[in-house]
């Protein structure tokens, strides 16, 4: 009896959340059906029998595997060093990590080209010509993006280490290595499978990096092949086969990873309150500083390269051009609605997930919801966008705006896994720690949110910032649907790089980065509050 009433209460108060998630699912399924109308089964065989497709698949997996392993191998010691050392510029470094996580792909690519390219810094100083276009360039760019991502994920896990363990290890006089081995590693290890999977999928489905740095059909991925099938051949059947192949591989990897990984367990104990000093040694010092220097060496040069044209006359020139501001406007016009949508979706997912966690009969749901929200990581966004576009077309919605709305929606969905990743753990933690308290005091809904807000606003701010910046920097869906009426900053930049107008491109990159900075600090200040910025 008690269980029954509980269940129905759950459904009614969560109706809006269920509607939101339902809407999300309906659009996804309808887009898929719209795609099916264009299928031609005879093409499947033709596509799958092409040797080139299997070579692509092999390369896609290989580069993703290398990229994610490299990123993690660097990220683990970096995380540990960052959490141990307090030094001037540590906040700067942390900021740099979060920025390179959301810096528009195409901007970073420009930076990498300027530093490592044919007439780049390295070549002009050392006279060594690096083989940037191909596997090397792809790995470089992927580590640039994903090592910081790995660090952010590991830091979250690291900060869950209860203060009792720090105190104990201090009392026992653990060395830096033993501390890592016995205290940090067990916590970091739990985050590794998830982090590996996320990065593997990001790299496996990597698009702009491979398109710009792959250097021809040899070093190409499935995602790029899907783009080419849609953009140049209008071969929806081929694109669908390739996406199914991609989904299959991603699922297989996900199953394998979770099969051999221990489940992620949230800890009940209180957060770390104070830091306890560690027994230091010269070796430990050298190691930590060396690792941090390496991280800096990977991250900093492309940033400097991007910002270098600020003081040139060309930059002032570009500022006066209408095309520049047109692109800024298009970018903003896309970023805000899609960030809002993404947050709205996240609210739906979070509400339902946490209301059902640990409730009898419902505890399976949060996990499934998390998978659902992360679907886009394995479903190629280009195919989803095409399906949605065809759906809108079949419904008879005007052709020009339709492209805009497709870009907005797909960007929102693409940001969702990142938004969820940031907000879910925080909300779960709140639920686990205080639910009984709230229940016994009868605090619910709005009143509860007001009490919770100071504790969750930081992650909400971070989520907003990510959603904004991801949409601002998107260079996948827009590459398919953009035209001169819908030319965002990243697409404009991509075109400039493509036509080797690197100097102009660098100026656009600066503008895009400044816009990102502005929106990032606005959202972290406004939503996160001063003390959390």
């Amino acid at each position: 009896m008690r269980l029954g009433s509980f269940g129905s209460k759950l459904t009614i108060s969560l109706l809006p959340a269920i509607l939101i998630i339902g809407f999300f699912c309906v659009i996804g399924v309808a887009s898929f059906i719209a795609l099916l109308a264009f299928q031609d089964l005879s093409n499947w065989h033709q596509t799958l029998s092409s040797r080139y497709i299997w070579r692509l698949l092999e390369f896609s997996i290989w580069q993703a595997l290398l990229s994610s392993l490299l990123s993690l191998v660097i990220a683990i010691p970096v995380t540990s060093a960052l959490m141990h050392r307090r030094f001037m510029g540590r906040d700067f470094l942390l900021q740099l990590f979060s920025i390179s996580l959301v810096v528009p792909t195409i901007v970073a690519i420009l930076g990498i080209v300027v530093v490592y390219g044919r007439s780049g810094w390295i070549t002009s100083v050392t006279d060594i010509e690096l083989p940037l276009y191909g596997l090397f360039g792809i790995l470089l760019a992927h580590v640039f993006f994903n090592m910081p991502l790995a660090v952010r994920i590991l830091i979250q896990s690291h900060s869950l280490i209860p203060s009792g363990q720090w105190r104990l290890s201090y009392q026992l006089g653990f060395s830096r290595w033993n501390l890592f081995r016995w205290v940090e590693w067990p916590y970091l290890r739990k985050a590794l499978p998830g982090a590996f999977l996320l990065i593997f999928m990001l790299c496996f489905t990597s698009f702009a990096v491979v398109l710009s740095l792959g250097g021809g059909p040899k070093s190409s991925t499935l995602e790029v092949a899907i783009y080419q099938a849609l953009k140049f051949e209008f071969d929806i059947a081929k694109a669908s086969v390739l996406s199914l192949l991609q989904v299959f591989v991603c699922t297989l990897i996900a199953v394998l990873v979770y099969r051999f990984a221990s489940a992620y367990q949230q800890d009940f104990s209180l957060k770390q309150l104070d830091s306890f000093p560690v027994k230091d040694s010269l070796q430990a010092k050298c190691f930590d500083w060396g690792v941090l220097a390496l991280a800096l060496l990977i991250l900093l040069p492309p940033f400097i390269a991007i910002l270098s044209p600020i003081f040139t006359p060309l930059f002032i020139d570009m500022l006066w051009q209408e095309a520049t501001w047109q692109a800024v406007w298009v970018s903003i016009k896309i970023a805000f609605p899609s960030a809002a949508l993404s947050l709205l979706l996240a609210v739906g997912f979070v509400s339902l997930a946490r209301a059902s966690m640990d409730r009898p009969g419902w505890s399976w749901l949060p996990n499934k919801l998390e998978y659902l929200g992360g679907m886009i990581l394995i479903l190629p966004s280009l195919v989803m966008a095409t399906g949605l576009f065809l759906l809108l077309r079949n419904l008879g919605i005007a052709a020009f705006d339709q492209a805009y709305w497709v870009v907005v929606w797909v960007n929102a969905v693409m940001a969702l896994p990142f938004v969820l990743r940031v907000v879910l753990p925080t909300f779960y933690q709140q639920e686990k720690r205080y639910r009984k308290l709230y229940q016994s005091l009868g605090i619910r809904g709005w009143a509860r949110l007001k009490i919770e807000w100071p504790m969750v606003r930081n992650s909400v701010a971070q989520a907003t910032a990510y959603a904004l910046l991801l949409s601002l920097g998107d260079m996948s869906v827009i590459a398919l649907f953009g035209s001169q009426g819908l030319l965002s900053l990243p697409l404009y930049l991509f075109q400039l790089i493509g036509s080797y107008r690197i100097e102009q491109g660098a100026c656009i990159a600066v503008i895009l980065v400044l816009l990102c900075f502005a929106l990032f600090s606005i959202s972290t200040r406004l939503i996160g509050g001063k003390s959390h910025a």
Binding site: R55, G216, F232, F234, A340, S483, Y500
Partner: protein, 338 residues
Amino acid sequence: MRTPYITSIALATLASLSLSATVVQADEAKTLNVYTYDSFASDWGPGPKIKANFEKECACTLNYVTLDSSVGILSRVQLEGSSSKADVLLGLDLNLMQAAKASGLVSEHNVDTSKVTTPGGWSDSYFVPFDQGYFAFIYNTETLNEVPKSLKEVVENQDLSVIYQDPRTSTPGLGLMLWMKSVYGDDAGKAWQTLASHTKTVTKGWYDGYSMFLKGEADLVLSYTTSPAYHMVVESESKYKAVPASEGFYPQVEVAAQLKNAPNKALADKFMQFILTQGFQGEVATGNWMFPVIELGDALPKAFTDLEQPAKVLTLPAEQVAAKRKQWINEWLDSVTQ
């Protein structure tokens, strides 16, 4: 209750979304939408002048919607289907005509094409040609001493570094693929492998590849026999020349078509007629750096008449190209990635 919280956020989001949706609508009755590729409509291309010339005659606005490659024009309207706002497609070529017809999106034209000067005349009832040329490899006479004399020598001489375009994305790339096919036939796959061993890079579009060549990144680049005319007229520079082809050159004819569901049929008709007049053809030579498709007489710059005319022209039947394009592209992919 949690409900009001979620609901209010939902409402706020919807409100902000609908606000941003308020898009200013242009006066559509008087606007002709022409889908074309980027360099045609760019400031340095023929687009702006042609726009001005046409607008003088039609009392309307010509609006270019640019796509980043010629092949992309077709797939874009295929994607948009019958709800597309395109009136005219400008920039497909001979080898895409069959695919475009098969899509069922283009309609027949009412233009008199009897004066067209393409090899063998023009009889297609769907497409109107707007410029023509021949694919050729371009070299710099100051840096290249041993000039190849044929396509075979370009392919087989391992000392030459070559840039060409991707046949999946650009019409010159596609043209080269057909050129290779008509010279090598069933051995094309092997020939691609040989070429791949001294290929500098395969670019997405013509502009990328040509820019790299001008920066000295390669000995040869795939372009047109007319490219040297650009350097002569604009830069008074005569060091760039086209590599001769003893097997014969492969032609490109760029074409336009109007759409069956063109929102503005009357203007589309008018524009199709306009293509074969002086107002359009006069801008083609020094804007797109291609030959016009009607006799212009003295209006054609001297640099063009000085260019070497191909002794022999190779062409594959359009039906064969349409039927085999995918298979040949796969052959190319297979060979160059080995």
